[in-house]
Amino acid sequence: MSKPKGFEKPAGVRDYLPHAVTKLRRIEREVLACMDRWGYRQIMTPTMEYYDTVGVASSTSDQKLFKLLNKRGTTMVLRSDLTAPIARVMSSLLKDEPLPVRLSYHANVFRAIEEEAGREAEFFQTGVELVGDDSPEADAEVIALAIESLKAAGVERFKIAMGHMGYLNGLLQQVLPERAEDQESLKEDLLNRDYVGYRNTIASLQLAPRQQEQLEGILRLRGGREIAGQALEISSNDLARASIEHLCKVWEVLEAYDVSRHVLFDLTMLGDFSYYTGMTFEGYAAELGSPVASGGRYDKLLQQFGRAVPATGFAIKTNRILDGVQGSEIVEDLPVLIRYTASYRKKGLAKAADLRAQGHTVITSIIPDHANGGDEGAPVISGSLLHRGYREIITLQ
């Protein structure tokens, strides 16, 4: 690769100019305020963590972790999510805290990407973790909060798809007992969203027609509440049954929250993160090509840090919403411009302080001595990315 030009930045990261920052900050503020109203308190963790602790626990695949070496040669990672760091804090600083614990966060996270554009190396996540409660009530709470958060962010048309890791595991145990390798390759196909491959793998296993039907049946398990019944017809394995019962209870609570119309069942969905153990969900916005929210239950993760407690949570990809939420242009207060000659400086600055104290935005500027007043020397506005004009121009001379 040739030496980068002075103004170049690495692929996968981006600059945000003030108008975008205003929008991004507002989304972030609204979402965090919403989470706050549900009793989730904000936490901050370091950008950098040890590879051997948080890096390994985070389910981001090894080649996608952004790795660095510190001075001693220890491998460090830039955090790839906040779930693993928060699990670490829960097991150390907050280890004696009574459960359940509700935490929220807003942070930039990192992924090492291949040269490809369009996939970000740094992006923003706003999310929550609900630690120490394994009830369907808790899973429903985070889904309902995800829905509220999307609304607070200004996303109007969205859907949540909800699945459960246990159903597929139960079905596979039932149909292919003791055949771990075949189970893995079927899961791999589903994880790659390759349904053609999934059907081909089933065909290659030479199963009885009923078993084939069971495995292929899962591909149709998407839709409303009725899916639960169909799922139980396909598999009556204990784990599968328990998973569906859990989802039905979550659904019941979501109905009480009055948000179930946004939610659909999808039992083909495997969370992209390997630490998920139970219910998983994804949020989709109509205007955006990839999911804006993802979450689920991870009951084994905290154990890796020495505190075996269940947990559930989700994260919203905040900057992706920025690209999609068009309708909400922000009307900002324009600043007041105070211009003064050297002899009026004290008066001008006092006036500015006065207006600022009242909550106005004020910019001050000196009129050079050689200027004859008028508009000469006034800042240029047209064609600028930053200047939006002034509410009022006050000239003191």
Binding site: R193, A286, G289
Partner: protein
Amino acid sequence: MAETLKVAMPKGRIYKKASALFRSAGLPIPLDVDETRKLVISLPEAGMEFILAKPVDVPTYVEYGVADIGIVGKDVLMEENKDVYELLDLGIARCRMSVIGLPDWKPGITQRVATKYPNVASQYFREQGQQVEVVKLNGSIELAPLIGLADRIVDMVETGQTLKENGLVEMTSIFEITSRLIANRVSYRMKNDEIQALCDRLHKAIMSEGAHVSR
């Protein structure tokens, strides 16, 4: 109300076969769309809009969500490795990806392989434990072994006619290729009903056609 499905269609070889399959699935696709030079074709009766794209670009359109679904060969999917749902094997445009060489090929000291599919080729040879240098070409791949640019090629073989005419032989077949129906991750959820309905109709049409072909 049903929402319009934006369908990325591959221009060229597969296009007519795909629109014929849609017709046999009972979708009202007029015959003249096969000949038009328009890039975006609105088909309100079928509840669809065709976007005519270069085949290698179809997965990109679908991954970004500017098209909800798309039709594309497995060769392109293997090469491009995009994050999309692969819903259905359409069974059309059947061919295979193969390693091809001159009849008297013997492994040399440096082995060079020319191909339009560098990712597919490097992965295949890596898995075989062979160290080869992959040369990316954009067309007329068969030329490479004839003029000594590469000693083997990896390319799609349909009838084998071009190979025969150029004195080349198919050495190994890597995988079978057919056209696939793919879907964007968000559209697959937001337009679940429309996509599932289309899948079911296409599946039925493919099954009856399959029965027809195999007599």
